[in-house]
Each structure stands twice: as structure tokens, then as C-alpha cells.
Symmetry: C2
Subunit: 385 residues, 2 copies
């Protein structure tokens, strides 16, 4: 539930018929007044027209809202897919009285299928500005695909409010951004400051999570600040934004397709933060680590194997590495029977912490993921995404 | 069944008590006469003492046999693990009248557990040279861990014979070599030629397979040629060795943990072979592609997504890419209903071919893998490997 709603943002959700169940799948959020924005997108070579259009809009610095279509990514859909994306954005822009370039557009869902433009156009015919509401909970719901829970967070920063929504449970190892996440705030922050803070926070949160290594074609992270609450302390704003983003990331990892547990891999003692991230990602993405966590198996040998996969990091040597789960060390000093029992207990919890010290220098990074379950396989062999 | 046994190799298999079921898990193969050898090993930063010792032996060019312990990798076992590996190899070398450096040693199985040296020593006490037999089928069985089938192949090359054995079903994305594979031949080939041919073949076979992206700490591929059958045509030998290695690789992929289907990804039209391999590996390792194949879902959008993950390959553009399954094209010209039915039929078979043309230049590569199933998850959440 959103408790702190930023001033001046209007929210509209509706069903555009992107699938048969009548659920809301069209989401539009627009600031009534000008805003500064920044956004980051997937680096996929198969990025869709939404990402192409939004990239241009952000380069323009004038974006103050976004439209999302859920359950169809509009990716690998050729010329017609681009025309449809342009039309959707243009019609929304006209309805709310903005230029095309002032709106980001995002789409997420099945790849290679055209939008059902008849029902999409019917939904766009209904748009009336200003929108009635500012219900970000509804927005968080209507951007969902296979998510089992809406991901939404709201926090205060001085007099200003910050709300963030996110979606994504599979095809998820964001690089630059996540599947879809949007933040709106009424704080007054100059664009260059907002840009710096946003990139720094995304690097440590959405770019630090992986469900299944499968980077999406549609990843988009954006923030809009319309300044209606006046200036804020930028350092405090960065802390609040980091807090909000991290909570969303934990929710995303915990809600990973089929997942039963959140995995956090804390890497320290690395040559630098990049190496720490590389090792962390390798461990959190290892199918054998993920299945061991699923089975509550204290199989630290698989963690060692996964660290070993960083084959170009010649300064990683087994003699210097330390591995632990929760507050228990497992390598090189193996746990005794009593510690082993507590280890299994930790692994049976809903959050598993894997700690790795590389013993090289003081670089560190934390990554987030989830266990690999039969549910993931079932969901993805039966469902066309 | 081995039909063509190379002359002059002796085989010994026995139970060394590495697990409780009494199955053979100690394998020793030695040429009666000097041989030339080459070998390639894992690049894992957590490589175990077996790999360290074998690397030294190969650098010495005099290896003419190998010893394998299955069901315990002897990895991340510290000083004692190294001492145990040295002792095992030394006692085998003494029993067969060779120097330590003339034997490779390999171990595969659980990580982080010491060898049960009492039962290992008891098995070594029984060694009597020359060994009675030359049963490579028995050797292929006794190097297995979670393999459901022994992997063995024998072929003729002129008067010479070539036999190859391999094991590995999980923790398997070899880089330089596979879990374990050994070839023995009585062909007479100079060491530099053998080295060139072996590296070329391994690059296109064992280094082209991935079950689960989890590169093992114990990968070893080796070949021994004792020359007893006289000289062979080296080009023909390379073709025969490639044929043998490829058949073993297909067996490995098909027998991947929990796998029900072999996946072959043929990439063509790439900038160079390296790019083709990178794209192929990205596709064959994608959990979403693997689960789609498992569900016989003609979800080519996931193949497009996986290609898109090669984010640094800026010359890959969706407009030039072509994707097909078997002999059917699916992108950019989408299949009609009739083709879609044949597509599902292809996907329901036991071998799924994914064809990707990048439309850039004429680089090509084929990689091998398998589907991701609930069986993989079950096996690896319940079993300590």
C-alpha cells in the first residue's frame, strides 16, 4: 500500500485487451507539471521499439510520464511493431496534451506477437485528461505479467515523497535497468544530480539482481521528479532512493518464477567492486548453487566451484578464499556437527545469505537472486512468454 | 560396446570404497610401451590437486596412462587432499613400474570431502602388473558419477584403433576440456601433430557442450598414442577423432542431468567462429530456451531474447538475423499454421536443432546442450555433488 504519494502525478490504468482475462494491462502515469527524468534501458541486441522510442525521449530530457503495456513485449515484431508503438505513444501524448518526446513507453510480455491494436485503440479512446486518480497501487498491479505480487514502495524524504513500482519475475538479469521499474517523486532535484544519484542506485540494486541470467529485451528503469515539494537534501534523497530500490529488488528476487527463497551473496575482500560483482553474479546464477539452496543442502563445494568459474581472475586462489552461510563459516574451516545443524536451519529459512571473502583487497558487492525450483521449470515449459 | 581395442593398453577397474554401493570407482589405464600424450584441463580457479599434478605430468610429455577416482573430486581439500592425490598416483606408478610423471590422475564427484584413504589404500594393495584385461567398457562404467549411461566409442583409422571414454552429466560447461574424457590409440603419431589435432578436435566438441553453465573443477581431456599399429594418415586420424569425440559429446548432452532432449544450436553468418560460438552458447545455456524446448513450445522469441544477450556484439541487429528450428524458418518470416504444426513435431523429437544466421559474414559454430527439466532440479536439490 502506498502511504506517501508524491504530489502532481496522475495515474490511469485500464484493460487494453492484451490477453483474455480482462485484467488491467495499460498503465499511464503523467506529471501535471514539467519534471526532470532519467532512465536506463536494456542493452539487449533485440531491444524492442518501446526501448528505442524511450531512449530518444530520455536523451531529450523532457520526459514527464510513461505508458506501459503488459503481457506483450512488442519485440521482434518488425516495422509494424514500431508503427504500433509510435501510434500508442502519440495517442496517449495527444490525450494528455504533451508532445511524443515527453512520454516514455514500455512493453513487457510475450515476444514476437503484434499488439491487438483494435482493443488497444478502444482503450485509448477512453482517455480523459486529467486522469481521476493517483493510485500507484493500481499501477503496480497493472504492469504485472507472471508476477505473483505487485511490487510497490513509498518513502518520505524531508517534505517530499517517493513512490516506486516494479515488475519482473523471469527473463531477468538486468544490465543497466530491470524489467520495468518506475519512480516518481515530488522532490525538486536538478537533472544532473538526479542522473548521478539514479545511476549509482540502479548499479547497486536493479543491476545486482538475477533470476535466471536471461536479460530481457525490454528492461527499463526510470525516475521522474516534478519538484512540487521543493528542494531536498540530495544525500538523503540518495539514501531513500537506495532503500526504496533495494526493497523492490528483494521483492523481485523473492518473487522470482517458482522461487521459494531469496539468496543474497555478499562478496568482500575483492580486488575491486567489479570483481566482487562478477564473483557474486557467478555464484547467484549457478544452477547447482540455486538447486542446493532449494534443497537446503549446505553444499558449499558448489559455491567453491562457482567462484572457480571466474577463470580470468587469476588473483583468486583457493588458499585465500573464505566461504560462509549466514553467520557461519564453512571454508576453509569446515563446520562441526553442531554448526552443520545450524547451517541447515539457516538454509531452511526464506532468506539465504552466502558470504565470500576473496582475501585480495577491499572491494565488495552484494547481489540478489533466488533458488531454482521445479516450479520454475514447470512455469516456463508450459507458458509462452 | 568396444569393437576396436587399441593394442598395448591395459585396463584395471576396482572398488576403492568412494561410496557405499560397492560399485567400481577406481580406473587405471596404462600403455605397456611408451606413448605420446596430450591433455587439456579445466581453467577453474578452484581446480583440485589432480588437475595440478596432471598438468605437470603433461608438461613433461612422457605420460602413458591415467588413474581416475570417481564420486569424490578431491577439490577444496587443502594440504591433506594434495598429499592424498600424490600418494594415490605414486602407489599406482610403483605398482605398474612407472615414474609418477608418467601418469595422469583425475578425480570427479563431491567437492570438499577427503578421500576415504583406508579403502583406497586397500584397493591399491591389490594392484598386480600387468593388469589382466583391456576392457574399456568397464573403464567407461567405473568413471561414472551421476551418469545414467556409460559413454564409450571405438573407431578404426587405417590399421590403428581409437577408443574414447567420457563421463559427465552436470556441473558441465567445459572450457579447455570436459569433465573427464580419455582417448587411447595404437596409432603412431608424432607428439606435435597429436597435440595440434587434439586441440582442434576438443575445441569443436568437448568445448562446445554445456549442460548447465557450471564449469567443473575437475575437467580433464587426454589422449594417449603408443604407436603399436604404425603410422596413420593424420588428416584421416583427425576426422576419426572428431567423429569419436562428437559422438561422445552428443551422448553427454543427451544424458545431461534430468535431460530428455539433445539441443544442437547451429550458428552461421557470424563475424567469425568465436562470435558464432558465443551466440550459440548464450542460446543453449538460456534457461528460458531450455525450458521451452522441454515443453516442446516453439517459442522462438526466447531464442531472439538469448541472441540479444550478446550485448557487446554491436554488429548483431534484429533486421539481419534469421532463426529456424530443424528445416523450418520462424523469423523474420513467421511460420503459418501448417509449418507451426511441423515445428511442434520437431520440438517433440529427441533432438532439437536451432539454426541461427546472423547475416554478418561467414563465421560458424555448433554447440550442444540439453533441455532443463524438473528432473534436473530434483536431482540437484536432493543430491550432494
Amino acid at each position: 500500500m502506498v502511504q506517501h504519494t508524491p504530489r502532481g502525478f496522475r495515474v490511469h490504468t485500464a484493460s487494453a485487451g492484451l490477453s483474455d482475462d480482462g485484467r488491467d494491462d495499460l498503465t499511464i502515469v503523467v506529471s501535471e507539471t514539467p519534471a526532470v527524468a532519467c532512465a536506463m534501458f536494456t542493452k539487449s541486441r533485440f531491444a524492442g521499439p518501446s526501448v528505442v522510442l524511450s531512449r530518444e525521449a530520455v536523451a531529450d530530457f523532457s520526459a514527464r510520464g510513461f505508458v506501459v503495456l503488459a503481457r506483450n513485449a512488442n519485440v521482434a515484431t518488425g516495422k509494424l511493431g514500431m508503427e504500433n508503438a509510435v501510434e500508442v505513444r502519440r495517442r496517449v501524448a495527444q490525450a494528455v496534451g504533451l508532445s511524443d518526446q515527453e512520454l516514455l513507453i514500455a512493453a513487457t510480455g510475450v515476444i514476437g506477437v503484434q499488439f491487438p491494436m483494435d482493443s488497444v485503440r478502444a482503450a485509448l479512446d477512453e482517455l480523459q485528461w486529467p486522469f481521476d486518480g493517483n493510485d500507484f497501487d493500481a499501477a503496480a498491479h497493472s504492469i504485472m505479467t507472471t508476477d505473483t505480487k505487485a511490487k510497490v514502495i513509498s518513502l518520505k524524504c524531508g517534505d517530499a515523497s517517493l513512490v516506486g513500482i516494479a515488475k519482473g519475475v523471469g527473463m531477468l538479469e538486468p544490465n543497466m535497468a530491470t524489467m520495468l521499474t518506475f519512480f516518481c517523486t515530488d522532490a525538486d532535484i536538478p537533472q544532473p544530480e538526479l542522473d548521478r544519484v539514479f545511476r549509482s542506485v540502479i548499479a547497486r540494486t536493479f543491476n545486482a539482481v538475477s533470476i535466471d541470467t536471461d536479460t530481457s529485451t525490454s528492461d527499463t528503469a526510470a525516475i521522474f521528479a516534478n519538484g512540487q515539494a521543493g528542494p531536498v537534501d540530495v544525500d538523503e534523497f540518495e539514501r531513500v532512493l537506495y532503500d526504496a530500490a533495494l526493497r523492490l529488488v528483494r521483492e523481485i528476487a523473492r518473487d522470482g518464477e517458482g522461487a521459494t527463497k531469496l539468496i543474497e551473496v555478499h562478496v568482500s575482500g575483492a580486488r575491486d567492486d567489479d570483481q566482487a560483482k562478477r564473483v557474486g553474479k557467478t555464484v547467484v546464477n549457478s544452477p547447482l548453487v540455486k538447486t542446493a539452496v532449494h534443497g537446503s543442502d549446505p553444499n558449499w563445494g558448489r559455491v567453491a566451484m562457482a567462484i572457480g568459474k571466474c577463470q580470468d581472475d587469476l588473483d583468486i586462489v583457493p588458499e585465500r578464499v573464505r566461504i560462509g552461510f549466514g553467520d557461519l563459516d564453512v571454508y576453509p574451516d569446515l563446520p562441526d556437527e553442531d554448526a552443520m545443524a545450524r547451517l541447515v536451519e539457516h538454509l531452511e529459512g526464506d532468506t539465504v545469505q552466502i558470504n565470500i571473502d576473496l582475501g585480495i583487497a577491499d572491494g565488495g558487492f552484494t547481489v540478489y537472486g533466488c533458488d531454482l525450483t521445479e516450479g520454475y521449470v514447470r512455469l516456463n515449459s508450459e507458458y509462452t512468454t
